[in-house]
């Protein structure tokens, strides 16, 4: 297919929706997110009903109030929130047909995401190390399933964005790949919003209430 060469002047206002395929991707990712919200709602509900539940005589050290540490969760929250902001910058440059800006800000987003992931892996490792493994109790299963599902989404988002950056590194922006960047950015924001809920429901409510 012949590629049209765009300049910032001829680049459409909404490059992510300028083609039929782009519009489908744009609507499609939003519809997918609707269903993913229901998925997380189900896991949240399961977590809330099994919070602090375990076998008879489960030690108090394995309840939410004693287990979770807010400073670590706060750093993770900040990393992810900032990565959402940097992906907004990337989309700003996407709309202005500045491919270099898109790649740089998406790259920073990936680095922040990797930082978040590293801290999460450290946190999980720590819990397993002190005996709070996946099979420890109903509470541990529910905790790892909820936070792990979010972690899996982070991994998917990172692989997705890295693939996009590598694949398009030498090609520049086109109306074919602009919707793909846009959809990945929307997905990344969604992951971030879910984390805000996890931070509130699991860590804040766990430690404070």
């Amino acid at each position: 297919m012949e590629e049209t060469k765009f300049t910032p002047q001829t680049w459409p206002d909404k490059p992510e929706q300028a083609t039929m395929e782009g519009k489908n991707k744009f609507v499609g990712i939003w519809i997918f997110i609707c269903s993913d919200i229901t998925l997380f709602a189900s896991v949240f509900a399961t977590y809330l009903s099994l919070k602090d539940k375990g076998p008879a005589g489960m030690g108090a050290e394995f309840t939410a109030a004693n287990l979770f540490e807010l400073p670590l969760a706060f750093i993770m929250t900040m990393l992810l929130l900032t990565s959402s902001l940097t992906s907004v910058y990337a989309m700003y440059h996407l709309k202005n047909h500045n491919f270099k800006g898109v790649q740089i800000w998406m790259g920073i987003t990936v680095l922040l995401g990797l930082g978040f992931l590293a801290l999460e892996i450290y946190e999980f490792y720590h819990y397993v190390h002190i005996g709070f493994g996946y099979t420890h109790s109903a509470f541990s299963s529910a905790f790892f399933t909820l936070v792990g599902t979010h972690g899996l989404h982070v991994v998917v988002g990172l692989v997705w964005i890295i693939c996009l950056m590598v694949r398009n590194a030498r090609r520049g922006l086109s109306l074919y790949n602009a919707p793909k960047y846009y959809a990945a950015a929307i997905f990344w924001h969604f992951i971030d919003v879910i984390w805000v809920f996890i931070f509130t429901v699991v860590y804040l409510m766990g430690v404070l209430g």
Binding site: K23, S35, L39, V43, K53, T135, H136, S141, T145, L164
Partner: protein
């Protein structure tokens, strides 16, 4: 890329490859239809075995354990692997034609949805040969399922996880298709009712399947990886499964019945030869049913002990659903009223549907009253009720629509004569089987029992019920014979087979070319084909664009490879808890690697589709319809 006429000349291998890689919504519709029919036959056979066992008291035709497997697989297969794909078949084949589109929004995902469904279904059915089928009922309540020995439940969990992912993907695809791919002028309030109900049903899939996915995942890790969600000694709670299952399970009923309503809303106006009565109230009722469908799941759990307040709220919400459903029933009756009715086979099914479905609805409202439900719960009354809804509502819609849409899907017609016989034998058999089960339930016969003692007053009614099941089986066999005969009949090569078609799908001559519309149609109002016909337009539609190059999607084998990956991974997960199979985890990882690898190939390989040039379009039209093309 191939036109229907060209593919006839291809060898077997090429044809097979074509179907394995196709992204054409019409071919996928046919594949859904045949896969659904296959599983419908299997599940029907299981039902027949159960009825033969229950025909006489103290029978030992099948063992208690086999009976549990039969009832579980019958319910699971009928709902997930027969009714859903059969309706998806019609949605695939008809919805893009009704909205004037050349294909769906995501043809690749459409194919992926089919293959995930199909391989998930095959996986589930392999359980019969690999150590026993699931046996905890189609609801698979955790208190039973967690302790079920063998791998039956694991097959259920993994098979439904895979096919459920396929259903969710198809649902997303249909929603986006209907939102973005409508032809110019096809506003939301001009969409045919089947498109509307497909949209709402897909939205229900969107919100209902994720809770099932989570529920199945919890069951999976509990049984295979040592998690403790449902193990009360470890702090778990089995009621979580009941909630998650029914948050999915109740909307699932509407996922199936709404497209069935839509199909009847297409059939009735064509044969009453009258505009659908109360179109906008039909649309409103569809949306309302979809919304209320999510508010009522706990009416399946009245006896779980959620408390009087919860039971009262869910009882009232359940009764409220009768209002929009009643609106629909009255609208259908008012459409027929004063029409010039032609009683063809599809119309026979529609006329049979209305009283049967109303009967199922009325018993549903009876069960909505929580105190009465304590009496009816887990009795044959429940079995009678949901078979009235599902057979009386959904299966009649599927059979009727097979006759109705066969000319568009296959360019052949099903025999009317044989169809009338099929209808009456099936219809009488259906009422014979299930009407009497209401009374069995009221007399105290519990559901899911494999046998019963003689002389409790149940013998005769059970015998009559089993005779009815045999009649239904004869009806289905006649339908299959009808399908086989139609394959040998002459191609129709016509437009508007029934003569009174109203919506866009009837404006295209059959066989439908692979690009559907040579020019995108311009829609001037509701029932566009009827409108153009009555304005004397011989072509049946006016166009929104000049004849030009047509952009179409490429075929791909990747959906099948991705689905095979999940299929392989499922075996790894299944055999992991045995302990003596060190290959289990490597197989699991291999399967997931195949799927993820195929996904990465898909995303880094550009897929721009291809263009059918205007000369090729003209040549295809002339090959299909002779000189002058689709005029």
């Amino acid at each position: 890329m191939s036109s229907a006429a060209v593919s006839n000349k291809k060898g077997f291998g090429a044809t097979l490859w074509d179907y394995l890689t196709t992204v054409d919504h019409k071919k996928l519709g046919v594949m859904y239809l045949f896969a659904g029919t296959l599983f419908f036959a299997i599940a029907g056979f299981e039902a027949l075995l159960m009825r033969l066992q229950l025909m006489i008291p103290n029978s030992d035709f099948v063992s208690a354990g086999t009976f549990n497997e039969l009832l579980t697989m019958h319910g699971t297969t009928m709902l997930f692997l027969a009714a859903t794909p059969l309706l998806f078949g019609f949605m695939n084949a008809i919805v893009p034609l009704q909205i004037g589109a050349r294909d769906v929004a995501f043809p690749f995902l459409n194919s992926l949805g089919f293959w995930l469904f199909f391989l998930g279904a095959i996986f589930l059915h392999l359980s019969f040969f690999l150590g026993g089928a699931p046996d905890a009922g189609w609801t698979n309540y955790a208190s039973l399922a967690i302790y079920s020995p063998g791998h039956g439940i694991d097959f259920y969990v993994l098979g439904l996880q895979i096919s459920g992912a396929g259903t969710l993907i198809s649902g997303i695809n249909f929603i986006v298709t209907i939102i973005t791919m409508r032809a110019p002028g096809m506003t939301f309030m001009r969409m045919p009712l089947f498109t509307w109900t497909s949209l709402i049903s897909s939205a229900l899939i969107l919100f209902a399947f994720p809770p099932l996915t989570v529920g199945l995942f919890l069951m999976l890790v509990d049984r295979m990886f040592g998690a403790n969600f449902f193990d009360h000694t470890m702090g778990g709670n089995t009621v979580i499964w009941e909630h998650l299952f029914w948050i999915f399970g109740h909307p699932e009923v509407y996922i199936l019945v709404l497209p069935a309503f839509g199909l009847f809303s297409e059939i009735i106006p064509v044969f009453a030869r009258k505009r659908l009565f109360g179109y906008s109230s039909m649309v409103f009722a569809t949306i309302l049913i979809g919304f209320l469908g999510f508010m009522v799941w706990a009416h399946h759990m009245f006896t779980t002990g959620l408390g009087a307040t919860a039971n009262a709220i869910f009882a009232v919400a359940t009764m409220a659903i009768a209002v929009p459903t009643g609106m629909k029933v009255f609208n259908w009756i008012m459409t027929i009223w004063g029409g010039s009715v032609k009683v063809t086979v599809p119309m026979l099914y529609a006329l049979g549907f209305i009283p049967s479905f109303v009967a199922g609805g009325v018993t549903g409202v009876m069960q909505a009253a929580a105190p009465l439900d304590y009496q009816l719960h887990d009795s044959y009354f429940i079995v009678a009720h949901f078979h009235y809804v599902i057979v009386g509502g959904i299966v009649t819609a599927i059979f009727g629509s097979m006759h109705f849409y066969w000319p568009i899907m296959f360019n052949r017609a099903l025999s009317e004569r044989l169809g009338v016989w099929t209808f009456w034998i099936f219809f009488i058999g259906f009422h014979c089987t299930f009407f009497i089960q209401h009374f069995l339930g009221l007399m105290g016969m519990p559901r899911r029992v494999f046998t019963y003692q003689a002389n409790q007053g149940w013998d005769l009614f059970n015998f009559i019920s089993s005779i009815g099941a045999i009649l239904m089986a004869i009806g289905v066999i006649l339908l299959v014979i009808n399908i086989i005969l139609s394959a040998k009949s002459k191609p129709l090569n016509c437009r508007d087979y029934w003569g009174d078609g109203r919506s866009l799908e009837w404006a295209i001559k059959t066989p439908v070319p692979f690009y559907n519309f040579k020019q995108t149609p311009l829609v001037r109002g509701y029932d566009p084909y009827w409108l153009e016909k009555h304005d004397g337009n011989e072509e049946g539609m006016i166009y929104a664009e000049p004849l030009g190059d047509i952009h179409m999607p490429n075929n791909s084998i990747l959906p099948l490879i991705m689905s095979i990956g999940t299929f392989v991974a499922a075996f790894g997960a299944l055999y992991h808890p045995d302990g003596d199979k060190p290959w289990a985890i490597p197989v699991l990882i291999l399967g997931l690697a195949i799927t993820v690898g195929a996904m990465i190939v898909r995303s880094v390989k550009d897929d721009h589709g291809f263009h059918v040039h205007v000369e090729e379009v003209i040549a295809t039209e002339e090959e299909l319809y002779g000189k002058g093309g689709n005029k």
